[in-house]
Amino acid sequence: MTDLLECRAVTRRFGGVIAVKPIDLTLREGEFLSIIGPNGAGKTTLFNLISGHDVPDDGTIVLEGVAIAGRAPERIAAMGLARTFQHGRVFANMSVRDNILVGAHHRLRAVKPRLPGLGALAELAMALIRPPAVAAEEAALNHEVLEIAALFGDRLTPRLDQPAHSLSYANRRRVEIARALALRPRLLLLDEPTAGMNETETAEMQSIIGGLKARGQTILLIEHKLDLVMRLSDRVIAMDDGAKIAEGPPHTVRQSPAVIEAYLGHRAMGEAAL
């Protein structure tokens, strides 16, 4: 297997605080890697650096052989990286269907003729004229939306035409994942997909993510619910205070003294809790 993502000595400073200390991370094609760590450990900052929402002060990030550090997020997305956000960022005033369709944006072909310099104008013309090829593309994507929604059982399918702001918190998280899947990502970054979910919903999400893994989806996951991490991950990285404190198979990392201490600050208590 080849490395899909490779981070070398990636660093991010905010004023005097080093949010991400020089960190290395590699992810192979088809692998499921989880990042765990207490709040403020720098996990989401690392995600932002990888997805282009923030620019590292130092280090290199290579996606499929291309250096992407400092690239605009839309360009990284077009390379096949999709992400969800820690606090959920659905398009609140749009229907569930439109939310998912936005995810497929970079796969639009017929409506975006490749004309150097005049691409935007041609796209506007295509949108207004709507020739058969464009209509067919839109219909195919709409069909795909149904398939993606079906992954979530009957959670999203009956609500496809409802505005996202009317959904429950858990459903909004599902919409976000569905939207990310519509990108057909080579690499999927999930930032706490089960935050705010109850046990049943968490179990359901776990089986959905497990399903993605089973079909070969490469996934980088941030998650606090260790149970889910243990069951799904091929490999786990633990972070604390901006630095990587442990890396390896799930159970090795779980029992690492550094991890236990980081989580609860006291070894004995940590063991009791874990």
Binding site: S51, G52, H53, A72, P73, E74, A77, A78, A82, R83, F85, R89, V90, F91, A92, N93, M94, D98, L101, V102, G103, H105, H106, L108, V111, G119, A120, L121, E123, L124, A127, L128, R130, E138, P163, H165, S166, R179, A180, L183
Partner: protein, 607 residues
């Protein structure tokens, strides 16, 4: 050298005047993240209260100043109570729109009470002057400088050493946390508005005395300058506002020295755009820091838009088309033709402000570009009118998009400020580019609407043409909104960070929206030019931009039918109260206030 010293001193004095307004704006922004567009109006009210005191009560300056300070502080409290507090849970842009409404109301009331004519506000100060270099400094200059320094010092002491000052600073940093700690944030807001308004009113009095001239329109210019100064120094930064004001004053003064006085404002707005593009967080912010708050700028209230059945739309168009068949109502035709022209502007604005979420406060400048383009194509290039109007649409689309493009990375309030600045710049360039635009003379003898040899210079023909073009543009926009572009525009509006994460390039799609909107507005301006037969740089002012925004909010942001409905309602309704032309803007102001407060989704709902 002597004259440079003069220009420097003059620049510092003017800058100091701006500072009095800018500090008030900065205080309010610092505490409530709000650009108070009514600040300039309070300043104008202060000037008029001073004038009234001098003229009728013959009070000495100290007493007059005290009356102004107390009255304006009261006005500030009222603004906070009406414009801000009821909107606590509303969209972030809502209070800003409310202050625009308040400012319209105040400016218009001044105009109604005191007439639009300028008045002299003679300084009662002794008339001695000290020579400095080649120029002089008078008692009033010193008083203005002293007021600036003393109020800055008092403000600093208040914020630093008093309990209420601490509360203000705490509220500025984190309103919710401050409230948790028992700070009465409403009281803090009220205090801040009182202080800021008192400062604003006092500066209006001083500036009126300085120029020996006051008029009801002085408020809007003051707000603009105060906002520019604030952007230079960083929004909400009080020392930054003072520094920004001085820098603005100096820039203008030197600019006037080199290019002449009609370039004064052009320099301020060019400086504004330069800062917005290069350092949107002001000169004192570090280059890489993110904006102070991830503000979402859209004014979209979750709601279910009203579904208007197709037959109703068809019926409405048929009825509208049949109006000219009713005999002998040329006046109604004229009003409605004007309404259709406004509707074109409104659908353009509802696309940009509603669907794309970029609240433009300078949309009237697109009308100006379109009007000038079509008029000049017809007059100078001898193009037929049927060709010059679509060409004007294209020119407006290209030019409008090119002007706004450097500001595409700005968000929320900053977009509104940038569009406001661009709007002013367009008018000023038209005023100063005499070789192309004929300058302040305006363009006369613009040929009427005609196709081939058929003159369409009668009210009926003009009505049908305008209505036909509007229907066409509205249908195109509706089709656009149903395409993937409509989806992308809304995604950018709702969350541009998430949109980018899914591969949407903001620049490209903002450009498409502005170009499409610019086309419709340019057509509207083009038709208007041929109907009016005379245009100048003040044919479409910022007032028109605000009217259009009110129409769009009335109809429902992003709603094409709503925009047309809003345009008809706000163009036709004021006509029903005949002889009350001066009340038109007052009606707009009140309508804006009521809408933002009670029905932010408008009549037909946002989409």
């Amino acid at each position: 050298m002597g004259s440079w010293l003069d220009y420097t001193i003059n620049g510092l004095i003017i800058g100091n005047i701006y500072a009095l307004v800018a500090v008030g704006l900065a205080l309010i922004f610092g505490v409530s993240n709000l650009i108070n567009f009514a600040q300039g109006s309070v300043y104008a009210v202060g000037a008029y209260i001073g004038w009234t005191c001098f003229t009728y009560l013959h009070t000495p300056l100290a007493v007059t100043a005290l009356i102004v300070v107390v009255a304006c502080a009261g006005l500030g409290v009222a603004i906070e109570r009406i414009g801000l507090r009821p909107l606590a849970g509303a969209a972030r842009i809502a209070p800003l729109l409310a202050t625009i409404g308040i400012s319209l109301v105040l400016d218009q009331l001044l105009q109604i009470v005191f007439t639009p004519d300028p008045r002299a506000l003679t300084s009662p100060l002794p008339n001695w002057r000290i020579s400095v270099g080649g120029g002089t400094i008078g008692a009033l200059d010193l008083l203005i400088a002293a007021t600036g320094i003393v109020s800055a010092a008092v403000l600093y002491g208040f914020l630093r050493f008093t309990k209420l000052g601490w509360a203000v600073r705490a509220t500025a940093q984190d309103r919710d946390a401050a409230r948790q700690m028992g700070v009465n944030t409403d009281a803090v807001n009220m205090t801040v508005f009182a202080i800021a308004s008192a400062l604003g009113g006092l500066s209006g009095l001083l500036v009126g005395m300085y120029f020996n001239h006051i008029d009801p329109a002085m408020g809007f210019q003051a707000t603009l300058k105060g906002v520019v100064a604030q952007v230079i120094g960083g929004m909400g930064n009080v020392p930054g506002a003072i520094f920004g004001s001085l820098l603005l004053g100096l820039t203008e003064s030197y600019g006037v020295a080199i290019f002449g006085s009609s370039y004064r404002n052009l320099f301020s707005f060019a400086l504004l755009l330069l800062i917005l593009v290069l350092r949107p967080n002001g000169l004192f912010a570090s280059a890489r820091s993110t904006p102070p708050e991830p503000m979402t700028g859209s004014f979209v209230t979750p709601n279910r838009p009203v579904r208007v059945p197709r037959w109703a739309i068809v019926a409405a168009v048929v009825i509208a088309a049949a109006v000219p068949l009713i005999p002998a109502i040329p006046y109604v035709l004229q009003v409605l033709t004007n309404a259709w022209l406004f509707a074109m502007l409104a659908i353009s604005l509802t696309l940009v402000a509603g669907t794309l979420g970029q609240i433009s406060l300078g949309h009237a400048s697109l009308l100006l570009i379109g009007a000038y383009a079509s008029a000049l194509f017809a007059l100078d290039s001898h193009w037929p009118v049927w060709a010059s109007i679509p060409a004007a649409g294209i020119v407006t689309a290209l030019l409008g998009t090119a002007l706004i493009a450097p500001s595409f990375r700005l968000r929320s309030h900053y977009v509104s400020i940038a569009t406001l600045g661009i709007g002013e710049i367009v008018g000023l360039v038209i005023l100063n580019w005499e070789s192309l635009t004929r300058g302040p003379m305006g363009v006369t003898n613009i040929p009427p609407l005609q196709v081939g040899n058929i003159e369409l210079d009668n009210p009926r023909a003009a009505y049908w043409i305008t209505l036909g073009i509007l229907v066409l543009l509205a249908m195109m926009q509706t089709r656009l909104l149903r395409s993937h572009l409509g989806r992308i525009f809304r995604a950018i509006r709702d969350d541009d960070v998430a949109a980018r994460a899914h591969g949407i390039s903001l620049g490209r799609y903002k450009a498409i929206a502005f170009a499409f909107g610019g086309f419709a507005a340019g057509i509207s301006g083009g038709i208007a030019a041929h109907q009016y037969s005379y245009i100048n740089n003040e044919t479409f002012t910022s007032t028109v931009s605000i009217s259009a925004l009110t129409m769009v909010i009335l109809g429902g942001m992003g709603n094409v039918l709503g925009a047309i409905l809003g345009a008809v309602a706000l163009t036709a309704l004021p006509e029903m109260f005949r002889g009350t032309a001066e009340y038109r803007m007052l009606i707009y102001g009140v309508a804006l206030l009521l809408l933002v407060r009670f029905r932010p989704q408008g009549i037909l709902g946002t989409t």
